[in-house]
């Protein structure tokens, strides 16, 4: 249970960062925390204490006490997607820095509403 609570706390921290922080880099860090919190949650869903790796050796018998492998595959996919998003975010933040000379959101404001 405590692990789930930790996930929720991490999600809250990430959302807080994205909403409150005024610095592009900190917003990106907040997004990273948010995303890893959800990935952690996915991994925890399939975890089982003292569970075995679900590798079938004897075909007639299922693995007696295995962890669920599917969430791990999902997490792997989600991490790769997250990497793509993160790389693009950092690239755009860098380009913005080149244009404006600052990471401060308050000063990067050409667009209204």
């Amino acid at each position: 249970m405590s692990v789930y609570t930790a996930c929720i706390v991490l999600i809250a921290i990430g959302l807080y960062c994205i909403v409150v922080k005024r610095n592009l880099v900190k917003i990106i860090i907040g997004f990273a925390i948010l995303e890893y919190a959800v990935n952690l949650f996915l991994a925890v869903v399939g975890y089982r204490k003292l569970g075995l790796a679900p590798i079938v050796i004897d075909k007639s018998q299922p693995v007696p006490f295995s962890v669920d492998p599917l969430p791990q595959a999902l997490v792997l996919t989600a991490i790769v997607i997250g990497l793509g998003v993160m790389a693009l975010m950092i690239a755009i933040a860098y380009r913005l820095y080149e244009k404006y000379g600052t990471f401060d959101v308050a000063q990067i404001r050409r667009l209204r509403g």
Partner: protein
């Protein structure tokens, strides 16, 4: 059977072929991308007669559902696929000339094809995690495409869009994790069966709320809209057309209707929320649109307002309302894509987006002016254009389900639509031509061809609307009306 995976495979394969071929021949992207979108369009039209009766279910890699990933082509998927492929074909023709001023056009085409891959994948897949993956393929491509100009505004809009869009994606991923934790499956059909067995759980209500939030951000329903009026105008015109035309519908409204009608079951709380979001989107975005002097920004607000109509129609839950909403997906996708393409043509030739700096362009750009008029009348709902029939059906659906006040409101707001469209007409095309615009020429032929194509569709679908409704919209409506029987059609029981 074999056509289904091609919708994803063709654009995905071509997306990676384009950079390879462009090394040797610089203009290869034009040819390959247009052939690709054209082929997808042909496939979509070819599969219309195939799905009469029962949907096509394709198991990827031969793994039967619920273990493997399935692609499901039913009436609803097909309707949205046709919208996507028509608009993407028009946009790729348009890009030949329009994108010529940008360096590295092949990068544009690669991202464009990836976006089409993502959209087609979302529409076809029958697996919720697979849907998330396609969501992200389309979304990441669109973030990069919004920033394609790499000027101040583009970058800023892209960053804003990206943060909001990614948070929405994380919400969707989180709800997928919750669903898997509770129900132990990812297949949409299997989810709906197990959800029925599990009954009314509080965790499922929470998941539903998370999913609705995520999809509403993608659909840009007010109050989740703040990214759209920045992102859509900043993108290059063909991408604005794709984003406003099909993107918000596929990622937002298609996903909402698939998940909430076919998996969760349309409970009153969800339909009331949809109606609520729909009404405030229509009113607030409509009023905001009236105040804009930037053509593309005005059209972007108009998109939010029209998305509100679709949400309203879906929320009624009555057969006519749903029929109207689905028809409005078709009419708004072609109409709004056309309007964004014409606004791009204005930017291309007159060099400005500001309505106060234009005027009298009708005589210089007759084709652009005529096709803008077709699109504007269609979105505003003037017969015989197709927007009239879709709005009429939505209003009749509202009336049928006893929501008389909302029906009246929808009629009043469609007058408002007409008034902001007339504002553009007056600002850009009517009146005397300004001195500095005397040298303006009509846009190149390829841009005109795609605009004429879409304008012809606006008129043609309107005139042939009984046949279009029978052929495309009614099968889609039946999928939504049958609701939870979706699982039977996928498992073939």
């Amino acid at each position: 059977m074999m056509v289904v995976p091609l919708f994803v495979a063709i654009p995905l394969g071509l997306a990676f072929l384009i950079p390879l071929v462009s090394k040797f021949w610089r203009r290869a992207g034009d040819l390959v991308a247009n052939l690709g979108t054209g082929a997808v369009l042909c496939l979509a039209l070819y599969s219309i007669p195939l799905i009469s009766g029962r949907p096509i279910v394709y198991s990827m890699g031969g793994w039967r559902p619920p273990l493997g990933i399935v692609l499901v082509l039913d009436g609803l998927s097909l309707l949205v696929l046709v919208c996507v492929s028509v608009v993407s074909f028009a946009c790729s023709i348009y890009s030949i000339s329009y994108m010529a001023k940008f360096t590295s056009k092949w990068k544009f085409y690669t991202l464009f094809m990836l976006m089409v891959t993502g959209l087609n994948g979302v529409v076809l897949t029958g697996d919720i995690f697979n849907m998330y993956v396609f969501f992200e393929i389309a979304a990441i491509a669109s973030y990069a495409l919004v920033a394609f100009g790499t000027e101040h505004e583009e970058l800023e809009a892209a960053f804003k869009y990206m943060v909001l869009g990614s948070v929405a994606s994380v919400a969707i991923l989180f709800s997928i994790a919750l669903l898997y934790a509770k129900l132990g499956t990812l297949n949409l059909a299997d989810l709906s069966i197990r959800m029925g067995e599990a009954g009314d759980l509080r965790i499922l209500a929470f998941t539903g709320a998370l999913l609705l939030t995520g999809f509403s951000v993608k659909a840009a329903l007010i109050p989740f809209h703040s990214w759209l009026p920045d992102a859509h105008p900043s993108a290059p015109a063909p991408i604005s057309a794709m984003l406003s035309g099909v993107f918000i519908k596929v990622l937002g409204l298609y996903a909402i209707s698939r998940i909430f009608f076919n998996v969760f079951g349309m409970k009153p709380v969800y339909s009331n929320l949809l109606i609520f979001f729909g009404v405030i989107s229509i009113v607030v975005a409509g009023l905001l649109a009236l105040r804009q002097s930037d053509v593309k920004r005005l059209l972007a607000y108009s998109s939010i307002s029209q998305i509100g109509y679709i949400a309203l129609g879906l929320g009624t839950g009555s057969p006519l309302g749903i029929l109207g909403a689905l028809f409005h997906i078709l009419s708004h996708s072609t109409g709004k894509a056309l309007l964004f393409l014409t606004s791009g043509s204005l930017v291309y030739s007159a060099g400005t987006r500001d309505l106060n700096k234009m005027g009298g362009l009708q005589e210089r750009m007759p084709v652009t002016a005529a096709s803008f008029t077709a699109g504007a009348l269609s979105i505003a709902g003037v017969p015989p254009f197709h927007g009239f029939f879709s709005k009429l059906l939505i209003i009749m659906g509202l009336w049928q389900s006893g929501r008389y006040a909302l029906a009246a409101l929808a009629i009043v707001m469609s007058v408002l639509t007409l008034s902001y469209m007339l504002k553009v007409e007056k600002g850009a095309f009517f009146g005397k031509i300004r001195e500095e615009l005397k040298g303006v020429k009509e846009s190149p032929a390829t841009m005109l061809i795609s605009m004429i194509l879409l304008a012809a569709l606006c008129l043609g679908i309107g005139i042939c609307f009984p046949w279009v409704v029978k052929l495309l919209i009614e099968p889609a409506r039946d999928v939504l009306l049958r609701g939870l029987e979706y699982s039977h059609t996928v498992f073939g029981t």
